[in-house]
């Protein structure tokens, strides 16, 4: 069996889809953030796979992955701080409970 670019792209697509399912269907805010992390992992896997099989000498995918990791680390830190702030105010970490601004 030959494992090339396609296998990695399909695996990353499956990981991203499961993250998408979790982000849309879960009601706990922490679980939604965990699903977003799953999607970030899939994106990084895609970048590294393209780097390995298309531009192995230029290392472009490595740089992209490092910066994507910076952004997703900032995202998870801010997201969890936001969950804590909302929890302190309304005593809930359910997405369905965060409907104060709903028209």
């Amino acid at each position: 069996m030959q494992i090339g670019l396609e296998a990695f792209l399909l695996l990353a697509a499956a990981l991203f889809s499961s993250g998408l399912y979790g982000a849309v269907s879960k009601r706990g805010a922490v679980q939604v953030l965990m699903s977003l992390e799953l999607m970030a992992i899939a994106v990084n896997l895609n970048l590294l796979a393209f780097n390995r099989f298309v531009t192995p000498a230029e290392m472009t995918g490595w740089f992209f992955t490092v910066f994507a990791m910076v952004v997703s680390a900032a995202e998870i830190g801010l997201g969890l701080a936001l969950i804590l702030a909302i929890y302190r105010r309304s005593r809930t970490s359910e997405v369905t409970g965060m409907s104060e601004l709903k028209g």
Binding site: G4, L20, S25, G28, Q31, A49, F53, P56, A57
Partner: protein, 168 residues
């Protein structure tokens, strides 16, 4: 560098990553779900290693399997008042399932249609010294690097600001 990677290692890591993500979605206990995400992070680091990106794999272990997992577990601990709160109803949504399946179908079709350009593989993997030289050269990625450190600083200050005891 070769055109392909080790099939046995790929299948093992792919099963670990995909199975872990499905277990994370299926587990009704939030703490168990956080541990499954930790397992997926470690498997993903293995996949990065398989793709000859040792540095990124180590960063993945430090950032996701280390810092992010601990942050998640602390947030779960703070926002749960009782032990029973960790067990949640299984959130099943047919619409979300259809959306995810459609997304996967579209991507799979695109991957089937995609033809990778023929590439001349270099003799060896670029080492970390070459990576650092490009990263910190002004013609390379020095400016994005500085902006990234600014983004991280602002995010950290913002996180402390948001989560501090407010006077409202």
């Amino acid at each position: 560098m070769t055109e392909t990677v080790n099939a046995v290692a790929f299948v093992a890591l792919a099963v670990a990553a995909l199975g872990g993500s499905l277990a994370m979605l299926a587990s009704r206990n939030v703490v168990h779900a956080a541990y499954w995400l930790l397992e997926v992070s470690v498997a993903a680091a293995g996949l990065y290693w398989l793709l000859d990106a040792e540095y990124v794999a180590l960063m993945q272990l430090l950032v996701y399997a280390g810092a992010v997992a601990i942050l998640l577990i602390f947030t779960i601990m703070i926002t749960l008042r009782r032990r029973e709160d960790a067990t949640r109803p299984a959130d099943f949504s047919a619409g979300a399932l259809v959306l995810a399946a459609l997304f996967f179908g579209v991507i799979a079709l695109a991957v089937q249609a995609f033809e990778a350009p023929a590439v001349q593989m270099p003799e060896s993997v670029p080492d970390l010294a070459a990576f650092g030289a490009v990263m910190f050269s002004v013609d390379g990625w020095a400016l994005p690097f500085e902006i990234a450190s600014l983004v991280l600083t602002v995010a950290l200050v913002g996180a402390v600001w948001w989560s501090k005891e407010g006077d409202d």
